[in-house]
Amino acid sequence: MELLVASGIGVLTAAGVYLLLRASTFPVMLGLTLISYAVNVFLFSMGRLAIGMPPLLREGGDLYADPLPQALVLTAIVISFAMTALVLALAVSLHAGSGSDHVDGPPPGGQP
C-alpha cells in the first residue's frame, strides 16, 4: 500500500508541476488542483496509513487512525477549493478582458 500511495503522490505532483509550467491559465489551474490533491494525500499519509481503524484512542486498543491529519486535510481541501475558484474567476475575467489566456497576456501586436 505504501508503494501505491507514494507513487500516486509522486505522479500527481509530477503531472501538476508539468501543467503548472504551461503558458496558458487553464492548464496552470489544473496543475494547481493536481498539486493540492497530491498534498492532501501526502498529509493523510503523514498520520501513517491505517485501514479499518477507528480514529479514537480506546482503553486496551493500540491501533487507531490518527485523526489530526484528517482535520488538517479538511482545512486544506476547503482552502484549496476556494483558491481554485478564485484563480478560475480571475482567469475567466482576464480572458474576457484581453481575449487571450496566456499567463502573461496577449503578445504585443500578434494574434493570441
Binding site: I35, F42, L90
Partner: protein, 540 residues
Amino acid sequence: MSQAIGQLVAAPFVVPVLTAGVMLALGDRRHARACRALSLAGCVLLVLCAVLLLGWSSGGEPAVYAMGNWPAPFGIVFVLDRLSALMLATTAVLGLACAWYSLGGWDERGRHFHALLHLQFAGLNGAFLTGDLFNLFVCFELLLIASYGLMLHGGGQGRQRATLHYVVYNLVASSVFLIAAGVLYGATGTLNLADLAIEVAAAPEADRALLRGAGLLLAVVFAVKAAVLPLSFWLQAGYENASPPVACLFAVMTKLGVYALLRVFTVVFGEQAGVAAGLALPWLLPAGVCTLVFATLGAAAARSLGALAAQLVAASAGTLLIAVGTFTDAGIGAALFYLVHASIAGGLLFLVAGEIAADRGASGHRLEPGARVTAPWIAPVFLFAALASSGLPPLSGFLAKLAVLQGVLDARGATIAWIAILAGTLVFVVSLARAGSILFWRPGRRGGGDDRPVGDCIPVHGRRGPIGLLCACVVLLTIGAGPVARFTDEAARQALDVEAYVSAVIQPPEEETPPGLLLDGDRLRTRQRGPAVESHEVAL
C-alpha cells in the same frame, strides 16, 4: 484584571474578524458610510489593543492564550511576547493609515474594500500571535485570500495580470508549506511550535534528514513571503500595480515572512535543536545580500515611483535577513528596529507615490517628464519620505541602518554585508534623487504617449491625514530611538530565549484539568510513532 488582559491577547485576531463580518453583512453599497465609520473605528481599536499589549508584553514573561482553554500541545495557543507585540503595533499603525487614506475615494473603486482590509488584519495579527504551525498556515491563507482581493482592488488588466501571477505563486508556496508541516507532524507527532522545539531537540539521528528537509522547505515558504531572491519576482509587479493604500499595507506583508523565519528558526530550529540545530544560519546572510543587491539594481532601473518603492521594500527585506541571519541579540535587536522603521517609511513612500500619481493625472507616478505636481506640500513630504526610506540622517532610517551595521559587525561575512548595505544605500539615494528631480523639476512636456492599460482607473487623491500620521511616526521613532532600541533589544533577547518560550507555552499537567484528557494526550504522544508501523502490517 490579569484575566481580562489575558483575553485581550486574542483581540487583535477576533476584533477584525468581527468587524469584517459585520461589514460584509451590512454591504458596502447600501451602508457605505457605516462601513467606513466601522472600518476606521476597528482600526483605532486595533491600535489601542496593540498599545496595551505592547505595554503589557514589556513586563517580561510571554503571555499565552489557549483557545477553548485546551492546554498547549493539544489546543491552539496564541503567544504574546515583545516580538509579536511589536509586529502587532506596526501592523496596526500601517493599517490605520491604509484605511484612513482610502477614505479619499480609493475604497469606492471596488467592492468590499474595508471588509477585505480587516480580514487581512486578522490574518496578519493571527500569524504574529499564533504558536502553532498549522494555525500559522491558516492565518497565512487568510491574509493571502484577503490580499488577492485587495491587490485586485480598483480593477484593470495590469492589476489582474499581476494578481494572477501572485496568486499562482502563493498557492504553490502554500502547497510547500503543507508538505513541510506534514513532514514535521509525521516525524514528531506535533505541530505546536513549543512542543516541536522539545521534540526536534530530542529527535533521533535517523530523523535528521526529514527534519532538516522539512525545516528548509519552511524556509523556502517564508522566503516567498519575504520576497527573498530568487523567490521575489512577484513583488515588483504586484506592489507597483496595487492601489496606494493597499501597497502601503503590503509594506508590512513582506515583514511577515521575516518574522516567521525568525520565529520558527529560533524556536524550532535554533541552536538547541539537536540534529536540526542552526538550520537557517548558513543561508540567511547570503540570501539577504543577494536580495539587497538585486533590489538595488532594480531601484536603479525603476521606471515609476511605485516600482522604486517596491524595490525599497525588497531591499529592506534583504537588509532584515542579513541582520536576522546573525541570530545574535545585537543583530536581531537592530533588525527589529529597522523592521519597524522600514515598514512605516515604505508605507509612507507608497502613499506619497499615490498622491503624486493623483496630482499628475495621466502621467501617473511614471518617472518621465510630464504634468507638473501642483500641490506645494507634496515635494517636502516626498523629500521627507525619501530621506527616511533611504536611510539618510537625521531620521530614524539612518539610526536603524547604523544599528544593523553594528549588529552584523561580528558575524561571518560582515564585510560583504557592510558593502552591500552601504552601496545599496548610495544607489537608493541616487535613485530617489533622480526620481525627485524628474517629478518635481522637469515638468512641461508630456511623456511619449499614454501606455496605461485600458480600463485601469485614474488614480484619486486620498486623505492627507495618514501621510501626516506616518511622518509623525517616523519623527517619533527618531526622537524616541533610545527607548525603542532598548525595547527591540529586549525583544530580540526574548525571541532567542527558547526555554522561556517553551516553558510559558507547555504547562506541566495540573490537577484541575479534566482527568482523561491529559492521560489520553500523553498516550497519544508516546504512541505516535508506535501503532503506525504495526498498522501497515495489518493493512497488508
